[in-house]
Symmetry: D2
Subunit: 132 residues, 4 copies
């Protein structure tokens, strides 16, 4: 991938916030997934077309997340997604979620490329030719 | 189907309630789907095994829902699912959601049986042999 | 409200689609809610600031939806929201969801304005001064 | 808390699985939250009554999760929740998710007790009197 960093804006939806009024922590992982999907799209690639249609699937193997400050309903957030490491069948992204300049959460998600049987497969070449 | 009415209990999960403190209205439809899945299971059938694995899919074609009183986080609800009508490719269920004796919501959901291409298909025989 | 019709674009997220590959029907109602929130914002109003902070809440009392064709993961959809009727404590919106020129779903959602105790309350004036 | 380990069963719902057919990774965190809620209930406590109504809220400050094998739609899973550490304002649980004897995922979630302003607060006594 040529572009290894990307930012998107996300507006917190009403049902994504919980009775405490905060964006529920499970939903951060949906945002992170949107971040890497849009990073792929910024590279002219589509997860649906270039991966799934080729019999390659991305599964999440590990996540780590630190929640510094809560996001709330209707907040307009900014998510930065960075490709941190790419190796054979694995790719690792780092995520930073902001409201304005305020850092709300930081995360790392490790993905593995598998086939329909769930066996690890080398990532497609266009994902591996990351600039050193 | 021999059993045409079934009840299940559902505990409202934290992220299913919204900042207003109420079970978000979209989630009622997830509960209704659970109701018809368990009605199927009470008949010794599984949507996954008996439908999807046979290349038959159920799509929702119409919903109507009236919300009488709100449900809240941690409420223990009781959902009654009734087969209201079965015809060729279509089945219609009616749902009543209770907290104790209090009726919270009533709904009707019309389903259509389709193949992988989305073409309507006759429901499997075991679904059509509904007692008159 | 001066503006009584509004359109937004929505990209179908991965977890919003189900194992059948289709946008799950419950999620349409989340999209419709986004549609009316953005219609409000187009009128210079915010549900969070102008309603909730004033002790007024919107609850859904009735929904009707017809699903004509399925949406799929990664589809870019266009949702049109129209104020259909405003009366005292109730407002009714109509929704049309499109992929390109293809109509995927049509819905009607009836909302009621309530206070913290759930008692119906007249809608704020700025919501009632709808052009005849 | 007297009981520091608890197990619950969870049936994977249709919309919790994604187009790949797998339980979406974000939903694991909803399951873990159910696990700690039911552990609390097994101790005769309710998050809603004993915490929120007392102006104490639990926020998630850190999560780590390893996904070993995928869960699928309609799988009946077993979640084990263990209190791993309790200190002043923080409590840490460990989670193991099984399908039969197969370990699907392991996680750690660190919670912090806060007041309405988000300031850390000592956990209620009944949470701290954990057996050494």
């Amino acid at each position: 991938m040529r572009i290894t960093q990307h930012e998107i804006e996300i507006r917190v939806r009403y049902p994504e916030a919980d009775p405490g009024g905060y964006l529920h922590h499970a939903n951060y992982f949906i945002y992170f997934e949107m971040g890497r999907t849009e990073l792929l799209r910024a590279n002219g690639r589509s997860y649906k077309e270039d991966m799934e249609s080729a019999g390659r699937f991305i599964v999440v193997v590990r996540t780590e997340c630190r929640f510094h400050r809560p996001a709330r309903y209707d907040d307009l957030l900014r998510l930065r997604t960075v490709v941190a490491r790419v190796r054979a069948a694995r790719v690792e992204h780092e995520y930073s979620l902001f409201r304005g300049d305020e850092l709300l959460a930081e995360a790392k998600v490790v993905l593995c490329c598998v086939d329909k049987e769930g066996q690890p497969q080398r990532l497609p070449d266009w994902m591996l030719d990351e600039p050193a």
